[in-house]
């Protein structure tokens, strides 16, 4: 049932995308506020986006962008503290995000696709912040990272935080976990070998393998909907650009090429489009890229 709904949603999403004029490799701008933005992620089978916007100097607000109407509305209009780093499960059944609960105290909230809270992982006492929550398919598991003893490790747990298990145990920082669509693998960034590179491991943390190797940082990996590719941000050309590679680390290609920043890639469920936050003429907006129209 869910599978057929998801397929239906993808078709609808593709129809919507077909209405958006795309010119050569130029991306389509989806927002027009100019404010700082972060982490756009598809939801509603590609019909909407969540993203984070600095709506006033004190607040990261979780926003929803309806792609058909281009209207932006707050996900939680009554929120008075920052909410950020949203993540939707590959089957779009639930999402998670970070919520500021007090001074330097950030927890994780998990909701179903109607916005009903499914679980909450509260921060530890004192200065504490979870990072980069990511949902496994089927409401089965959530992965996230946080600081431990001067390092940052990735953990997985049930949606309420129970049964927490470490997935990494290395020097440095392990960050931005992202499940493969089938939930069997996790790609992530790690500085264990000196600076941030992209890695992949099984969902239980076994068999970690490095996929990139460059002295400039490679960060924020995301599996494509069919699991065959990974999009990520790299600074290897002097500023933040989006790159694609096969899930085994081969076939590296640069998607964006602009003197300003391109960051925070997320895949449309059709696997042919990506959204990013890109800075153009000093303004930060969400952009849509058609991979097929890019000459690699």
């Amino acid at each position: 049932m869910n599978r057929s709904r998801a397929l239906c949603g993808i078709v609808i999403g593709q129809l919507l995308l077909a209405q958006i004029p795309l010119h050569s490799a130029e991306p389509e701008r989806l927002t027009d506020t100019g404010r700082l933005k972060f982490t756009p992620v598809y939801c509603d089978q590609g019909r909407s986006l969540f993203f984070v916007e600095l709506t006033d100097p004190t607040l990261y607000r979780l926003q929803r962008l309806d792609l058909a109407t281009r209207t932006i509305s707050p996900v939680n209009p009554a929120a008075t503290t920052s909410e950020f780093e949203p993540s939707w499960a590959a089957d779009y059944q639930c999402y998670a995000y970070l919520k500021t609960r007090g001074p330097l105290s950030i927890g994780i909230t998990v909701c179903d696709n109607q916005g009903t809270m499914l679980g909450e992982i509260r921060p530890e006492p004192g200065f504490f912040g979870f990072r980069s929550p990511t949902m496994a398919p089927g409401k089965s598991q959530i992965a996230f990272s946080y600081g431990v003893g001067g390092t940052q490790q990735i953990f997985a747990s049930r949606l309420n935080g129970d049964n927490r298990q470490p997935l990494t145990n290395s020097e440095g920082f392990n960050h931005w976990p992202a499940y493969s669509p089938d939930g069997r693998f996790i790609t992530y960034g790690s500085s264990r070998d000196g600076n941030f590179e992209i890695y992949i491991m099984h969902n239980d943390g076994t068999d970690p393998r490095r996929l990139t190797d460059h002295p400039r940082q490679d960060i924020r990996p995301r599996f494509s909907p069919d699991g065959s590719q990974i999009a990520f941000t790299s600074h290897r050309d002097g500023n933040a650009e989006i790159y694609l590679m096969s899930a085994d680390g081969t076939n590296l290609r640069r998607l964006t090429n602009h003197p300003e920043r391109d960051d925070y890639a997320d895949w449309h469920p059709d696997g042919q489009h990506l959204v990013t936050v890109s800075e153009r003429k000093g303004r930060h907006e969400v952009y849509l890229w058609n991979i097929q129209e890019v000459e690699f």
Partner: protein
């Protein structure tokens, strides 16, 4: 566009009353204030007619920006790569490529040190050179310059750009203003949004009056009388004076022009970036161009990062690496690069001293929460223009960035160097009873 409180207007007649009153209260450093005598024979030359103090409030990590330690153990050096600068042998982290590529336009001090480990006191020390007690504190460097130089035209001599007085939590930083020189030398407070809308955040009073009805000074007088009845008796004198000054300021086309960022073309505004700090940096350049002797440009009003209700400062006890990577460094890199270029292109840099720094550094050893805490023993400052020889690196820290090797420089030395370059010599400082026992950072000259 000028947003004086809840109103937006491009003409002085349209200024909202509430904003008008805000402006009045924030104009205490304004016009017609007593000045010291102008430069006497034999006094220090004025190499910096204007000073821009860029305050990275909350304190950025020196290891993650301008003093990386790529050979230190991983628990010190952090996850970022390093890139070469224009200065031979000097590297910054990859987070600030624009600033790195302009290192021939400024000099870098890598051995700043301060006595105060906490924000409130360290903030005062950073802005005055001295601890916050006894009260009143010593004056802000800007207040010293303001008293010495006075207004250069229609504008007050000391601006502080932020959405209010800089704060640590709910606590005001005592060294924000005139201190022992009196409130008359407090800064004129201005804020600026990411869209470039200027606002005057100093006060929120008398919402029941409509400023659009203010037609003349007599009417203004009535409003001032009402305002006077609503504020404490002790503040009445300065209030009335401030109101009068603000009225004069708002009616002065040159002053209003300096606040109006819409007079810049989009290319220029874009170079700075449409962020609060980016457009505030552009506002600062316009104020300097208009002849304001001292501008304090605050990265944020609050020190905190990710505290409910507070602006995002550099105090990264958690998320140090994320906030620097995702927000603070890209915003700073773009805006400060544009600011330097603009000052050079317009020829302003020769007579404008630019100083950028926080109130301390951050722990070289990464904390248990995978971030960095306060570190007063060693941090950096950037100096450009106004008599500073560019392309130098003054001092060096040890292999882990924990302590200075050799000579270090206190905030008192920072303030003394600023005053020296602004033409306030030893004798004048003594006459003003400010910056006592301070020494100039000779390596910058």
């Amino acid at each position: 566009m000028i947003d004086v409180g809840s109103f937006r207007t491009a003409t002085c007649r349209g200024i909202g009353r509430r904003h008008f009153l805000k402006l009045a209260a924030s104009a205490s450093a304004g016009l017609g204030l007593p000045l010291l005598p102008t430069t006497a024979v034999g006094a220090a030359p004025i190499r910096a007619k204007s000073v821009l103090f860029v305050f990275l409030w909350g304190a950025p990590s020196h290891l993650d920006t301008c003093d990386p330690k790529p050979d230190a153990p991983l628990e010190f050096r952090g996850p970022f790569g390093v890139i070469p600068t224009r200065t031979p042998g000097v590297h910054f982290t990859e987070l600030i490529p624009g600033i790195a590529s302009r290192s021939d336009r400024f000099s870098l001090v890598r051995t700043n040190t301060t006595s105060a480990p906490g924000h409130p006191d360290a903030g005062t020390v950073a802005l005055t050179g001295f601890a916050e007690t006894p009260s009143p504190p010593q004056p802000n460097f800007g207040s010293i310059v303001a008293k010495r130089r006075g207004s250069q035209g229609a504008l007050p001599p000391f601006f502080s750009i932020a959405n209010g007085v800089v704060m640590d939590g709910a606590r005001r930083i005592e060294g924000y203003g005139g201190g022992t020189l009196s409130q008359a030398y407090d800064p004129f407070m201005m804020g600026c949004s990411e869209a470039g809308v200027v606002n005057l955040p100093a006060l929120h009073l008398l919402d029941d009056l409509n400023p659009l009805r203010i037609q003349n000074r007599r009417q203004l007088s009535g409003i001032l009388d009402l305002a006077n009845r609503q504020i404490e008796r002790a503040q009445k004198l300065s209030w009335s004076r401030s109101m009068q000054s603000a009225y004069d300021l708002l009616l002065n086309p040159a002053a209003r022009q300096a606040f109006d960022l819409t007079r810049e073309n989009d290319e220029t505004r874009a170079r700075y970036g449409y962020t609060t700090f980016g457009q505030s940096s552009l506002l600062a350049r316009r104020l300097l161009e208009a002849g304001v002797p001292y501008v304090q440009l605050n990265y944020s009003r609050h020190v905190e990062a990710l505290n409910p209700g507070f602006e995002f400062g550099w105090d990264t006890h958690i998320y140090n690496f994320e906030l620097l990577q995702d927000q603070h460094c890209p915003v700073l890199d773009r805006a400060f690069s544009a600011l330097l270029d603009d000052l050079y292109d317009r020829g302003l840099i020769r007579e404008t001293l630019v100083v950028m720094m926080g109130e301390f550094g951050r722990t070289p050893k990464i904390s248990a929460r995978a971030a960095r805490d306060h570190w007063p023993a060693c941090y950096f400052s950037i100096w450009a223009g106004g008599g500073v020889e560019p392309g130098r690196v003054i001092g060096s820290s040890d292999k882990r960035g924990e302590y200075p090797l050799g000579e270090s420089f206190s905030p008192l030395a920072v303030g003394t160097t600023i005053a020296h370059l602004a033409g306030i010599d030893t004798q004048t400082r003594a006459e003003m009873n400010v910056l006592t026992n301070g020494h100039v950072i000779e390596g910058l000259l």
